[in-house]
């Protein structure tokens, strides 16, 4: 569902991403880890077409994201760490707006879908308030609700748990698990290693723009020689790369 071939991005002399080749299957939950400025956000931006690669190609759902971007984006949902929302709209208005942007997935039961999402994310009480009055956690929940509205095949998520209360964190984790089981491919970039440890089928670790390790948690344990938690594995691998 997500495939990159020798993806490379340079900013002047800086190589932000160095020949990244990935192949992520349908329904796979892929966690993408790395220290700060490792190239995680650059990778995400290349996957959703916000950046143009210097070299290589990225395919999402079989579509080249640069050439067939409209088709590809119909099946993607993207959740940034600091999402944009219209301050002067209400949650319900915003969800209707997002529905309108995916006409091919036009739902006959749009009202029911929106009601369910508002309920699921505990936003129904505030659904008619302007978004400008929402807390960060409420905004994040609204973004999640909006990302699910068109039934995406691929979800690309950047730091999903920032600002969420324990209840919402649980809701988000359950939804991601459920979506993964339903065959949705999830590409999750995070610093919260416990989330990756709990949810991911496979984990990729990137450092200085280069993919330094990829595999299941057990495979990573073996390759690093660390038998403990993901945190130890991650630190060992990135330390090695740094030295």
């Amino acid at each position: 569902m997500i495939k990159t071939e020798n993806l490379r991005k340079e900013f002047g002399d800086l190589v932000a991403l160095n020949d990244l080749s990935l192949d992520i299957a349908e329904g796979e939950f892929f966690a993408f880890l790395g220290p700060n400025a490792a190239g995680k956000t650059t990778t995400i931006k290349l996957l959703i077409g916000l950046l143009k690669p210097t070299k290589g190609t990225a395919y999402v759902c079989g579509y080249n994201i640069q050439k067939d971007y409209v088709e590809a984006k119909k099946h993607i949902s993207y959740i940034p760490d600091f999402p944009f929302l219209y301050e002067k709209l209400t949650a319900r208005e915003f969800l209707h707006f997002v529905c309108d942007l995916y006409p091919e997935q036009e739902m006959k039961n749009r009202k029911t879908v929106i009601d369910d999402l508002l309920l699921k994310f505990n936003l129904n009480e505030h659904q008619n308030h302007l978004i400008e009055h929402y807390s960060h956690g409420m905004r994040q929940k609204l973004v999640f609700a909006a990302s699910l509205i068109h039934d995406p095949k691929v979800m690309i998520i950047d730091e999903p748990m920032v600002g969420l209360d324990p209840h919402s964190t649980r809701v988000v984790k359950d939804i991601l698990k459920e979506k993964s089981k339903q065959g949705v491919t999830i590409f999750l970039s995070t610093h919260t290693l416990s989330v990756a440890e709990e949810l991911a089928d496979r984990i990729g670790i990137i450092d200085h723009g280069k993919l330094i390790a990829i595999g299941t948690l057990d495979e990573l344990r073996k390759s690093s020689g660390e038998g403990g938690r993901l945190e130890d594995v991650f630190l060992r691998l990135t330390e090695e790369e740094g030295s």
Binding site: L14, K88, L89, L101
Partner: protein, 558 residues
Amino acid sequence: MNEIITILNIRFAILKNKLRNAHQHSRLKIFVVWFMIIGILGATFYVPYKAFVFLQSMDHVGNVIIERLMYLLFMGLFMMLVFSNSIICYSTGYRARETTYFFTLPIKYANIFFVKFIDSIILSSWAFLCFLLPIMAAYAHVKNLGFMFYLTLIVFFVPFAVVAAAIGSMITMAIVRFFPRKLYAILGWILGVGLVAGIIWLIIIGKGAKTEDEFLFVLTNLIPHFRFTQFVFAPNYWISEGIFKAIAYDYEGSFYWWLLLLSNALMLGQAAYLWSKRIYYDGWVNTSFSGITKNYYAGKGMADKICRRLSCVPLWMRSLIVKDIKVFCRDPVQWSQFTVFFGLLAIYFVNIRNFGYANLIPFWKNIVSFLNLTSTNLTLASLSVRFVFPQLSLEGKSFWILGLAPIKRQSLLFEKFWLNSIAALCISLPLITISNLMLNVSPLQIILSIFVVILMCFSLIALCVGLGALFPNFKEDNPAQIVSGFGGTLALVLCLVYIALNVMALAMPFHLLVTEQIGQGAFQKLLCISCVFVFILGAVSIFLSLFFGSRALKNLEM
């Protein structure tokens, strides 16, 4: 096309919500905003109206001058529309967070551009239309024109605005695509070169104006030089001709010019849309994520070096000053506006002699001198409101460090006051001195205007800093948005009223003297009273602004 309609629908929903929330604002706020709108519209009507009446009284020559002025007005309007569309297209089409959001959605890039193009037309046109309508109302009043004139004006203005927007957005697309992040610099150069060329041209044609008797002659003599405003391939000529034909009841002729304008609007709009398919996305990517960063070495800048020598100033204040100077100098949007506004004034003042103003009779010289004083203070006021008022609000995000630092919160207000006042003084004082020297005004008038400028610098800055503390907006990152709120509007109104009171108080004695309504003795007495009034007004403004501002900052809960 569906996605364009969807996004436009959401624009209407946002507008509806804003209007629905309008009643939540206080009555005082609504009153101040309406007072200001009516005041500005009234002034924009009254001044041209008086000018038109004066020119109309000159019979045939006056009518010719009015007609040429209308051509000039539409040409100026067209250039400003192109320029403003260029800037707005960049800020909404390339820099806005909404645009990034749109790029993550399944929307064709050309359609994203089209939505931003419509935004740009609306955002740039409404202000110019508000500026144009009172002037046109003054013209219509003098010429006894009815409702049909206004209808014609609106019908012509729509395609006229589209033509300007298409040209402006195509300029921006080209610059951003090939020189990402250089748009402001390139537009600044274009504007600068244009201004210098304009000034040189004015100097050349203004050489005849050497004596007071020639003043009217030169005014009429200048007119032939404005023939370029009637360049037949320019859209400003088409709109002017169309409106004049309609006024003369030549509807067939008027319709021809409207069709010409409309067909060009459609053609250029289509060209911009097709071009956006090729270069909009590439330009957006280049300007959003260039990744090239410049090195700035701590402690090695000019501000660091100067502030290090100011050992009498506490270290924390020096640090704040250095930080403020660096933030200002590293943001081209901020310093470029300062340079353009004060640069324009400087070029004008330096060339006063070339325009022959120094040879005017005392009556006119007096008026020009006070107009120069007013324009310097108005520029200072508008830039203070734009840049000084939002400074405390912008510190909101850094209050986690400034609020916890072992310094009084009020000190922050005083730091802003002193730094900005001294900076304002460094710019305004030389300007007004040049103006007076070029005009050859009396030493008394020079001393007086210097006294006023010093007082104004401190009091206008105090007003903006104080009101900035009284009406902070910590949610907003964009200074322009902070200024457009109630506090910013109030600051602008108070600054304008304050300048008007000062200039009127000081100009009155000189006006009465040069028009021989009072003698020298009465003039001196009246001038003393005016000076005392101006001084008390300034002192009270400074004290009240800083007092209420620091109290608000002290009691602020974040």
